[in-house]
Amino acid sequence: MLSKDLLRYSLKEGHFKPFLLSSQPKWLAKAKEILDLYQNSIGLSQEELTESCLKHSSSVGINTKIIRGFIHLLDKKVELHEVNEEGYQEHRQACFEKSKSLFQGDHELTFKHFSEELKSLSLCPDYPSLYGDLAHKRRIKSVPQWQSITLIHRYNLALCQGLIQNAQWVHLSITKITAKKLSYLIRYLNFFGLLFRCQEQKGYAVSLKIEGHLTLFDAPKKYQKRIAALVGILPQLDDFHLKAELLIDQKKALFQLEPEQGLRSHFQAFSDYIPDEIKLFAQNMTEAMNNMGFEPTPAPEQTGPVSDWVIPDFCWQKDSQKVYVEIFQNNQASMLQKRLRQKPWKKEESFLLIEKALFKKMNLEENIHLMSYSSIPSTQKLLKALKNS
């Protein structure tokens, strides 16, 4: 996301509007010019490359903020040549010795002669400067191979994220979402330690106020970065409307994002924010369930208020027999507490797997529907419970 000094926006009629770059030939050409400078920068230092990009921007009259935004995104993907750090350290040590004996020796050298003497003593072709291994002096080895349009899309997304970082509050409305997709969204929010408050709901049209646990105590800043990261996955929702109130340079105004603005996401699918151990469990369990004649099935339809929805992580069906499995990790205490107060489907169909530390913390007792796991949820334990139920 772009830092505050790189944000480009207008403030009109109570709204902040981002200066998004369009995919018109003019901008594609500008992006290409910068990408070309990067392509030709192999062997330069990052400092030199930045300098040449800024020089270019002033010669062709592009707003420096845009160029610096491009640089910000590209620099993160630049790979630098490895340097012999140990060699540099040994070289420095040797130079320090020489310097010390020169400083402490008895001589009548002037400053000029002292400097020259020291320079000649520390000269070494392998190490052109004493601190040549510092990142800003290292040479560029490879640069990202992006198309112009990729750079523009990434820039636009980073700009919106940068703006959202100044949000006082954020509402996300989705007019059409499936239960499964919503469950992924809620899991994603939980993954990043965020909560939501349902503002409005009509069937599958929901409006969520995205917050953090401590937002109650006037801590909007604490969660701004996490909420801004959410912007990266918005384009993956087919239909969304994000509304926020931003406070920038003591000016407060609204900010809106909608699919029409053409944001593109390069982020991994938000449904993939599932820890590896759960993925492994899911893979093994699906295989075992298939062997028993069960097929994966969509999450059951929900009708009540979204804050009361219970959406299982995994659902399988064989004829009229259904199996719902929910997994709760250690950091999902409040979600589990809430879940234990709800009973939306038949008990015999529902299995809750809870990470051991959380299980212990909540003083729960094991039974065939309530099981603990220590590192990876056990398929065998679950299959045994299934058979017994």
Partner: protein, 463 residues
């Protein structure tokens, strides 16, 4: 009969389910809680754990505490020496403040030892938060020597928790959300950093009922001292450099040296200054409390060719002021003059630090220095193998350089706190007698005003 409420820790807060909430809890601790409709729980800041539990206990209201994950620990100081009188007074004052408060002692007077005494007294899992990785390493050695075990570390790629854990402020701000219930005592070293908008959550998300803030310079320009007292407790003991110098701190002198610029540099400085000042006038930017801020200046700079020139001119004049040839020569003369002393050289920026390092082949410590080399440089400096060290800002605070008795400020900001902290680096009592702090100022430049601003402290009066 009410079911006793169960308190648990949830992402930096203390929660209890709404069904367990009752009138008795409401009457004695209700003010600290807010109802959270998102999770249907009552939620309070973790830092209110102490007062809440105390209130319930006093009123004999039953409750179940599932939040607390700390326990009594057999902490006993090894090879302890008796505290100095002022250290003893500070500890007594802190205990009297119900083991929650800040102690203000000058650098080099042994704040860490007071903290060790506090840890031994409380005997509960402890978290020490520090502003830099250097300080974290230093504290790790102190804890190991004092209690005989390795502390846990959060920061610099480390994440291990032990009965005593040391963390940087940055790491604590991240991890406290998950681990804030594991500590009974929270110690904030250089606690003047704590009121910052991000760092204050380190203290808010921790349940530790016992808290100790340590600083030499608690004053903040934004008035954050009040927030500090809310987070860590009141200032319960203060001693100044003047109170302790002579007997417990080195005697010291400070020298301001105005260094004239070489003719060519002076001309270059004047030219750059002219372009920069003219641009400020043209754009009606006034940094002295008038219209415009540094951000405005930057914003305008990048909009036009004239702006870019002004920005370049600003950088040029700054660079000349900070590291002119004459300054380098004067620095060389001072090193030669004190060649058998331990000399620590401070700069305002990394570029100047590395320029000095490259010119004189001296070790430089900045945030870019790798941990291994940083440790080697510090050890070489401490044992005298290499008695000169250049640094920008990372050694300004806290880091113990006991043998340093000469400080040379080649460049610095206008911050009083920074300047006092830098002076503190050379005040630790050692056998080398009086300490000297030199301040190099480029004559006829705006550095003069910067120097004037940063010397507005008692420690520099009549010196």
């Amino acid at each position: 009969m009410n079911t006793p409420p169960i308190f648990s820790f949830d992402r930096g807060s203390l929660v209890t389910a709404s069904k367990e909430w009752n009138v008795e809890v409401e009457s004695c601790a209700g003010a600290k809680f807010k109802y959270d409709e998102r999770t249907q729980e009552y939620r309070a800041l973790a830092m209110d754990y102490g007062p809440i539990v105390l209130a319930l206990h006093r009123n004999k209201i039953p409750y179940c505490d599932e939040a607390k994950q700390f326990s009594p620990q057999p902490f006993t100081l090894r090879n302890s020496h008796p505290p100095r009188p002022y250290q003893q007074e500070a500890l007594v004052a802190w205990k009297k403040a119900k083991s929650k408060g800040c102690i203000i002692l000058p650098t080099g007077s042994g704040k860490s030892f007071v903290a060790l005494l506090a840890i031994e007294h409380i005997k509960r899992n402890t978290l020490i938060i520090v502003p830099t990785l250097d300080l974290m390493s230093q504290w790790a050695v102190i804890i190991k020597n004092a209690f005989g075990f390795e502390p846990g570390l959060w920061g610099g790629g480390e994440k291990s928790t032990a009965p005593i854990t040391i963390s940087t402020y940055d790491s604590a701000a991240i991890h406290m959300e998950h681990l804030g219930h594991h500590f009974g005592l929270l110690i904030a070293d250089e606690c003047h950093h704590l009121p910052g908008p991000t760092y204050q959550w380190c203290a808010k998300m921790c349940i530790a009922p016992y808290r100790l803030g340590l600083s030499a310079t608690p004053e903040r320009s934004d008035g954050g001292e009040i927030i500090l007292q809310e987070l860590m407790g009141p200032i319960c003991y203060t001693a100044s450099i003047q109170d302790l110098r002579g007997e417990y701190l080195s005697e010291y002198q400070t020298h301001q040296i105005e260094v004239p610029l070489e003719e060519k540099e002076l001309q270059e400085y004047k030219d750059a200054r002219k372009i920069y000042s003219q641009f400020l006038r043209d754009e009606h930017i006034d940094f002295s409390g008038g219209a415009g801020s540094w951000q405005d200046f930057l914003g305008i700079c990048f909009k036009s060719e004239a702006g870019r020139k002004a920005y370049k001119a600003w950088r040029t004049q700054k660079e000349i002021m900070r590291s002119s040839n004459s300054k380098l020569q004067k620095l060389w003369e001072l090193i030669v003059q004190h060649k058998h002393s331990r000399i620590i050289i401070f700069t305002d920026d990394n570029a100047t630090a590395y320029k000095i390092g490259e010119t004189f082949c001296l070790p430089v410590i900045t945030h870019q220095t790798k941990m291994k080399e940083r440790k080697a440089f510090m050890e070489a400096f401490k044992d005298g193998t290499f008695p000169y060290l250049v640094t920008s800002k990372v050694l300004n605070e806290g880091v113990d350089v006991p043998e340093a008795n000469i400080g040379i400020v080649v460049s610095g900001s206008g911050s009083v706190r920074e300047h006092v902290q830098r002076l503190g680096r050379i005040l630790r009592k050692s056998q080398s007698g009086s300490a000297l702090l030199y301040e190099l100022i480029s004559e006829g430049t705006s550095e003069f005003f910067q120097s004037k601003r940063r010397r507005k402290h008692q420690a520099y009066k009549n010196r």
